[in-house]
């Protein structure tokens, strides 16, 4: 039990400190690395409460994919330089009130959600929960998502699909004059398409492209 709490406090301290460092560090790339550290320690906490599936999915989705794309973007943009220009100019003061309003709104919303939180009445009844926990938590998650709430799950999938298509449509542009490789064209090319025997008259020559 002591070992358990030692691990718990270690991971939570790392999580909180790295969360603070995400906003406090001056280098944006460092911020992303601290964000990754935060994700990893949160997933460790998930695993400690027995939600190993959630912890692993957190690692795979957030650390393995989302944070890589974050890093990608942050490394490509010259954020540090832009930030310096930003803070030295007059413009920054106009945006501070907007940011403050949005962040207070989110904070108030969070408080409302946490205040209205109700636990399932039989959650703390240990005898009850053991009976349910006969199956592993991956199975029970699958049961909830794919059997009990299948329609809601499918609708959320649809919403994500729409978002994906929207992002592709918004960023897609057809470039003209680009020579792209087409395997079918290359493979289906015959001798008759490329080579032809021409009788050249003397002193006339031959036009190659017409």
């Amino acid at each position: 039990m002591i070992a358990h709490s030692i691990f718990f406090y270690t991971f939570s301290i790392i999580a909180i400190v790295s969360a603070i460092m995400v906003t406090a560090s001056k280098n944006t790339v460092h911020s992303v690395f601290f964000l990754i550290l935060d994700f990893i320690s949160i997933s460790c906490l998930f695993i400690m409460i027995g939600a190993e599936f959630l912890g692993m999915i957190m690692l795979i989705v957030y650390v393995g994919a989302v944070a890589v794309l974050f890093l990608f973007v942050v490394m490509m943009l010259n954020v540090a330089q832009q930030k310096n220009q930003w803070f030295s100019s007059e413009e920054s003061s106009k945006h501070i009130p907007v940011g403050l309003i949005i962040s207070t709104l989110i904070f108030v919303e969070l408080i409302i959600v946490v205040g209205g939180w109700k636990y399932k009445p039989d959650l703390f009844d240990i005898n009850n929960s053991i009976e349910i926990n006969n199956v592993s938590n991956t199975h029970s998650l699958g049961q909830v998502l794919y059997t009990d709430y299948i329609h809601i799950f499918q609708i959320s999938g649809m919403i994500l699909l729409v978002a994906m298509i929207g992002a592709i449509v918004l960023t897609f542009r057809k470039r003209v004059g680009v020579k792209t490789q087409s395997y079918i064209k290359q493979i289906s090319r015959e001798r008759s398409d490329g080579v032809s025997v021409v009788k050249v008259e003397s002193n006339k020559g031959v036009r190659i492209d017409d």
Binding site: G64, L69, L71, H139, Q181
Partner: protein
């Protein structure tokens, strides 16, 4: 006191796993070079020790005694952290590999997800190294590898889903036991081929070694590294290759199961079968390196997104419909 004894027990088990892994990484580097030389009608390393077996150890000694150079304009903390991350991630994944029904360090419920998560974290070693070097070639190599590894992970994930549909469990031992009658390489053969090719891309092996394509990027993300730090990248890479081979052996070749449950095969213990299967897959890796020329980068991305991903997604639908129609879906 009791806690301490558990701790010592675990440390002993971990060392018993890690030391053979590290030794076999060294041996496998030798094997790789020998196969490569054999294909090109050369001798390969054959001087140090019997058959040149100690060549890697000689190389490692040389690396250890060389000076570690940290570029003055680099980001020092991340620069030093990068090879450590690569090496650590390559080694911690071995914790869940089952060598027999009982010989497994951590027999966790979500073993395959753990393997997948750790292999998807592997990209960080390369990105950190490439960015922290603060130099052009390493950075280009890092960007390339980030895009490449993220793309090929997607198809590996879908292939894993194929296997999981047939097993009904995320536990690696359950996956092995589900193959008692028929290895998954037979019904899921196209998926095995795609897994093998994606594993090549995931570990940055030729023909997909674009992050370190020496002809265009010097050595990619490793350009600024020297001495022991370079050696750690190098060993971590080979440990990762062995890990992907182990993953392939467990998912498709029946892990520690013997090919036939009859007399001469049953004499060989389970761990040895797993090692043999890993070696077989590694031999394929080495042969591919020697035979196939490097891909162009746009072809590589096209192959990942436009060929492998749709193919493996269609195969998921096919597998699921087949299992559902013939009522073969695993139920626990």
């Amino acid at each position: 006191m009791e806690y301490l004894s558990i701790l010592f027990d675990q440390v002993y088990k971990i060392l018993f796993l890690l030391v053979p892994v590290l030794v076999s990484v060294a041996m496998v580097v030798w094997l790789d070079r020998r196969v490569w030389a054999f294909v090109q009608k050369r001798q390969g390393p054959n001087v140090v020790g019997p058959f040149g077996l100690l060549q890697t150890i000689a190389d490692a000694l040389k690396y250890i005694f060389k000076e570690i150079i940290i570029p003055s304009s680099s980001n020092k903390v991340i620069f030093i952290l990068a090879p450590i991350v690569t090496m650590t991630l390559a080694l911690i994944a071995w914790a869940v590999i089952p060598f027999s029904a009982t010989q497994v360090l951590a027999d966790i419920n979500v073993g395959i997800l753990y393997l997948f998560a750790v292999s998807s974290l592997g990209v960080y070693g390369i990105i950190m190294g490439g960015w922290a070097s603060n130099s052009k070639y390493p950075f280009l190599g890092a960007i390339r590898s980030a895009a490449q590894m993220v793309s090929y992970e997607v198809s590996i994930g879908v292939i894993i889903i194929n296997v999981l549909l047939c097993v009904g469990s995320l536990n690696l031992n359950d996956i092995v036991i589900a193959q008692q009658n028929l290895w998954f390489v037979i019904p899921l053969f196209p998926m095995f081929v795609i897994f093998f090719i994606s594993a090549l891309a995931e570990t940055n092996r030729p023909p997909f070694d674009l992050p370190e394509a020496e002809a265009e990027l010097v050595a990619g993300y490793q350009t600024e590294y020297s001495g022991m730090m370079y050696a750690m990248f190098w060993l971590g890479e080979y440990a990762n290759i062995l890990l992907m081979c182990a993953m392939g052996a467990i998912l498709f070749l029946g892990g520690w199961l013997s090919p036939l449950e009859i007399y001469p095969f049953t004499l060989v213990p389970g761990p040895l079968w797993l090692v043999l299967k890993i070696l077989l897959l590694f031999l394929l890796f080495a042969l591919v390196k020697a035979i196939v020329p490097r891909y162009r980068y746009d072809q590589l991305m096209k192959l990942g997104w436009k060929v492998f991903l749709p193919l493996s997604l269609i195969w998921v639908v096919l597998t699921a419909s087949y299992l559902f129609y013939f009522n073969l879906l695993p139920v626990n």
